[in-house]
């Protein structure tokens, strides 16, 4: 079984953009986000994350062949990665990327008429410059459509997502099991980073806190000893096979949990199960949200989540977001996280659990086994 992507993968992905151009009557699409350039260009520039001024574009005309436009520093690497033969570049500081882009679009007959863009990612300064240089062009936001066509994963993507998610879970659990008594928050997160690396991941983020700091949104570990009885939570992920994210959350305790702590996790897990139960082809993203929210109520947990999960892939929060206003229909091949998070004010403890699942023809397949109890770190 050959599932590694080849040239036909790029062609299939680009074909999805042609569908959007036809339905939206666009002459072409120009995309700039890390997620979009990586997905459609089948390339991977980490500077798209770390250096926001170093813009990169994929240019896909309705008629004609696609091109990549990147900073000259990245050209050699991009050529080694992509199947797109036309790799153009700009010299940083010598020319504004949007100026080179305008020239390239004009050269290809895309200087006039409707051009789709990822308006939630393209900087305002670039859009403004492009608009001034191409007064006959109409920049049409197509963020949602472009995100939507990435939501159904192929066999290769699902296999990487599954391997990545399982490796990430293992890293978090093993680090908890092995951590010696008297360790600090930072000892734990360091061990998790290392175990992600040893399993082939490039660590992207490790949110970790214990005690009252679990109530914060995305805290990072401190050089602070883990206290017996304290609740802790971790939300972490890495890139695998260069571009595919893992994203997982677990809650645990230092020492042995109280009955109350274990009961809260069980209640939270019931809300997650309710979410997975609503993940069937034909149901909606908002149905999963409602299922989780209703179960929070039944379990007597306070509910404050704007979304209860999301698609995962090259992006960390991919379409469809499982939020109340999203009527996206779930389809076979979507891969989604369900991640209930409950803030227990009275105890100053936040509980979070997150697992990955694939929407199948008949329902749902879990790619990681959800938590059956609070994790333990030695007191």
């Amino acid at each position: 079984m050959k599932i590694t992507p080849d040239g036909s993968t790029t062609a299939a992905r680009l074909a999805k953009l042609r569908g959007i151009m036809e339905s939206r009557h666009l002459n072409g699409i120009v995309l700039s986000s890390y997620q979009n350039v990586s997905y459609f260009g089948r390339t991977h520039m980490i500077t798209q994350i770390s250096l926001p001024d170093r813009l990169a574009f994929i240019i896909v005309p309705r008629d004609g062949s696609p091109a990549l436009l990147v900073c000259a520093i990245e050209t050699r690497q991009v050529k080694a990665q992509t199947d797109i033969t036309d790799v153009l570049d700009y010299v940083e500081f010598a020319e504004e990327p949007a100026a080179t882009l305008a020239r390239v679009l004009q050269d290809r007959g895309l200087g006039r008429g409707a051009i789709g863009i990822d308006a939630r990612r393209l900087p305002y300064a670039s859009a403004k410059s492009l608009g001034e240089r191409l007064p006959g062009a109409d920049l049409v936001p197509v963020d949602d459509e472009v995100e939507r066509v990435q939501a159904i994963k192929d066999e290769y993507e699902i296999s990487v997502l599954e391997t990545a998610a399982r490796a990430t879970l293992e890293a978090g659990e093993e680090a908890a099991n092995e951590l010696p008594s008297g360790s600090t928050e930072r000892d734990y997160s360091t061990s998790v980073f290392l175990k992600l690396l040893q399993r082939g991941g490039s660590p992207a983020f490790v949110v970790f806190a214990s005690g009252p700091r679990t109530m914060q949104g995305h805290p990072e570990s401190l050089d602070q000893t883990l206290v017996n009885g304290a609740l802790w939570r971790i939300d972490f992920g890495a890139r695998f096979e260069e571009v595919i994210y893992s994203d997982l959350a677990r809650t645990g305790v230092v020492g042995e949990p109280s009955r109350e702590q274990e009961a809260t996790l069980n209640a939270l897990r019931a809300t997650q199960d309710a979410g997975f139960g609503a993940m069937e082809p034909g149901r909606r993203a908002s149905d999963v949200f409602t299922a989780v929210k209703d179960e929070f109520k039944r379990q007597g947990l306070p509910f404050s989540m704007p979304h209860v999960g999301h698609g995962l892939g090259i992006g960390l929060h991919e379409y469809p977001m499982l939020e109340p206003g999203n009527d996206a229909v779930l389809e076979e091949g979507m891969v989604l996280n369900v991640e209930p998070l409950a803030f227990i004010e009275a105890r100053q403890e936040a509980y979070h659990t997150e697992d990955l699942a694939e929407v199948t023809a008949s329902g749902v397949r879990l790619l990681t086994p959800p938590a059956d109890r609070l994790l333990r770190i030695r007191a």
Copy 2:
């Protein structure tokens, strides 16, 4: 000596924005980038890097007190970090962040007239929405001015930058010294990640490759054994004290270098010294560029760099970029990297070395000792 930042730090930073508002005749400034929100708000949300749709803003009126506007998920954390008392939030998906922002601006009398923005960071979709909701407002790009006032570091920032840079250098050198024979590229980068973590860094990026892949822009390590005689290079950094980056590059060899390899590093080091030699108060960013470029020529090295270094802080590439078109005058307290990179086509080897220095009253103080030879990894 107290150098840890306190409330007066925030006030001093915000005062710099008031200067810009006066000179540019702005009613207020609204900034959205990770760097700007972290610097002026003295807060730190890692989701500003990992989740580009989760916008955050700092709002600074010309008259009146500043406010932060963040996603409600982050509110508790931001309140625990910032000295700004006015922390507002929006509920993700329930309301578009730009819509909440427009309302907040209107409530504060900033709905009309000139408002400064970071146009290279604010997404086009948000700027468009803001413009439509506030037709009387004029969005004025102030990216450069806002970057400029962050360039002069205070005693605390310089102390963190120095500690971070030294810890990073130690991590890279120690990992090279300790790596057993027969290791892979990935073994080395994993060891570097771990050593960064052990020194208090949160790893941000580790670019590493050996052999012909050194010619790529920002390659990552592979599960590939390091071959005797192969050249390798590393360009890596981490966040220290939550928000301050390190960024350093070194070149090395597996086994013992050839005379030619060592000579190329020496030539490259001469170009770096030329750059440091030009780093004096009163000289220009472009002078450092020219000094490095001219020395490349004298040394017979091929020159293809769009810039030869940059400021460093909460941003990875901060103002001033050491590029030919930048006539920024260097001032005491600026902290800059000089990082010559030479691509030797005939040998398919790229040499890179990067160190950090502070502009002092009389010239330059190196914060890391530049490489005096190629690093070694056991063959």
